[in-house]
């Protein structure tokens, strides 16, 4: 829009990597603390998407 080239992939990669890591941790790890890490990763990703939609 303002002619400045931006990093297109930074946010998509961060969000999708968080989702994939969360799903993998939840599948591979039965230990409860690690399960919480899974939900934090996925939750952070979803919260960011929700915030982006709301802010715009």
């Amino acid at each position: 829009m303002n002619g400045k080239r931006i990093n297109v992939w930074r946010w998509p990669i961060a969000l999708n990597a968080a989702i994939v890591c969360g799903l993998a941790v939840a599948l591979l790890c039965d230990a409860q603390p690690l399960r919480w890490i899974a939900w934090i990763l996925v939750g952070w990703s979803l919260a960011t998407i929700g915030y982006a939609v709301w802010r715009r």
């Binding site: 080239r5 297109v8 998509p12 939840a26």
Partner: protein, 385 residues
């Protein structure tokens, strides 16, 4: 990337999406109730869970459950016996013959007391219709393979969509939604944002869905090759039946569990069933962690004497299918994961529907401009798709 390449990727995204959109919308709409099948089953009464019995740790004999099932349907044969992975329950599946493709009845028993809990309805009810639509379109294997083909087209649509997104968003900050411009532009921005934010989930569910559609052909391949080789020493032996003297299924379960400490029974193919030989019980064992509970190990038990006959690992292609299932169903993390799957499923519906809307409005815009100028325009306002 040149403008020519951009237009090519745009065209690939547009047409792969249009080809699979109706199928994918059907899969997403029918997928939502399947995510909540346990809750819907409990609500409608189609699923009955074993009662709470505090302090009761006894294990009822599976033989008694099988005998009770056969008493309820004299003349039928046992096909499979399986154990629930999330409640203390066993299922006994009957058919007209052991190798029948369809069940005549499936009974659910309490694993602690052996009491009958529920006779599961066969091939009726809304959830049956929804599952058939989602997995086979009521067309059997051809329907399943058609869905698999649509899944492959969907994966091509996602990949091309990511490429188009990368080019289109070069000068727009992430999550830009231009609310003050046209409705079409606003939906285009939302389509881009929701699509790229859920790309990984869409790919995971899409690819694992395609893998799942190959389950029956690959299972048939395993039966024709490795299972045939595994059972070759017993080829030609007479079938074992109740009349010739058959070891009890409980004995087969105990022998299989002794051969693999730490594993539990997932299901048992009766002699003569589609998952066994006429001379053996085929006991499929599973592990006790989230991951290993999805992986099965077949153990052959001689049905004449109840002794261990052979054991083997499943081939990589069947292991891949077993691993793909939880990633497709989202059923390995309790209600948080179900909620996540449902949310992403609804997002996918919005992405698919908005894609169709954008394509339709683009046609309208191009037609209006062509009418106004007297010659066709390639692109209404430099937008995709």
């Amino acid at each position: 990337m040149s403008n020519r390449h951009f237009l090519l990727w745009q065209k690939i995204h547009r047409w792969t999406s249009l080809v699979c959109t109706v199928s994918l919308l059907l899969l997403c709409v029918t997928g939502a109730p399947l995510i909540l099948k346990d809750e819907i089953g409990a609500w409608t009464g189609a699923t009955v869970e074993p009662p709470d019995l505090p302090g009761v740790t006894t294990q009822a004999s599976v033989d008694a459950m099988v005998a009770d099932a056969l008493k309820r349907r004299p003349g039928d044969a046992v096909r499979f016996v399986s154990q629930s992975d999330d409640s203390p329950a066993w299922f006994v599946s009957l058919g007209r013959t052991p190798d029948a493709a369809d069940a005549t009845a499936v009974y659910k028993y309490d694993a602690r007391t052996g009491a009958l809990i529920h006779a599961i309805p066969q091939k009726r009810g809304a959830m049956y219709v929804i599952r058939e639509l989602h997995t086979a379109l009521f067309m059997g294997l051809p329907g399943t393979l058609f869905i698999g083909a649509m899944g492959l087209v969907f994966v091509a649509s996602i990949v091309s969509g990511v490429v188009v997104y990368g080019i289109y968003m070069r000068r727009l900050p992430f999550a830009t939604v231009r609310r003050t411009r046209s409705t079409r532009l606003r939906w285009l921005d939302l389509h881009n944002l929701l699509g790229i934010a859920t790309t990984a989930w869409l790919l995971v569910v899409g690819v694992t869905g395609v893998v799942n559609t190959l389950a029956m052909p690959l299972l048939g391949h395993w039966q024709r090759t490795e299972l045939t080789a595994m059972t070759s020493p017993w080829r030609g032996l007479p079938p074992v039946t109740a009349a010739t003297g058959m070891a009890s299924v409980q004995r087969a379960i105990d022998a299989a569990k002794r051969s693999a400490p730490g594993m539990d029974v997932a299901f048992i193919g009766y002699p003569g069933s589609r998952f066994s030989t006429p001379h053996h019980y085929m006991v499929f064992l599973r592990g006790d962690t989230t991951l290993t509970s999805r992986l099965l190990r077949p153990v052959m038990i001689d049905a004449a004497d109840g002794r261990l006959a052979a054991s083997a690992s499943l081939p990589w292609y069947l292991t891949s299918i077993l691993l793909a299932q939880p990633l497709h169903f989202g059923d390995y993390g309790g209600w948080p994961l179900k909620a996540l799957w449902l949310a992403f499923d609804l997002v996918a519906i919005v992405v698919l529907a908005s894609g169709v809307y954008l394509w339709w409005r683009r046609r309208d815009a191009m037609q209006m401009r062509a009418d106004a100028s007297g010659h066709p325009r390639a692109n209404p306002d430099g937008e995709h798709p």
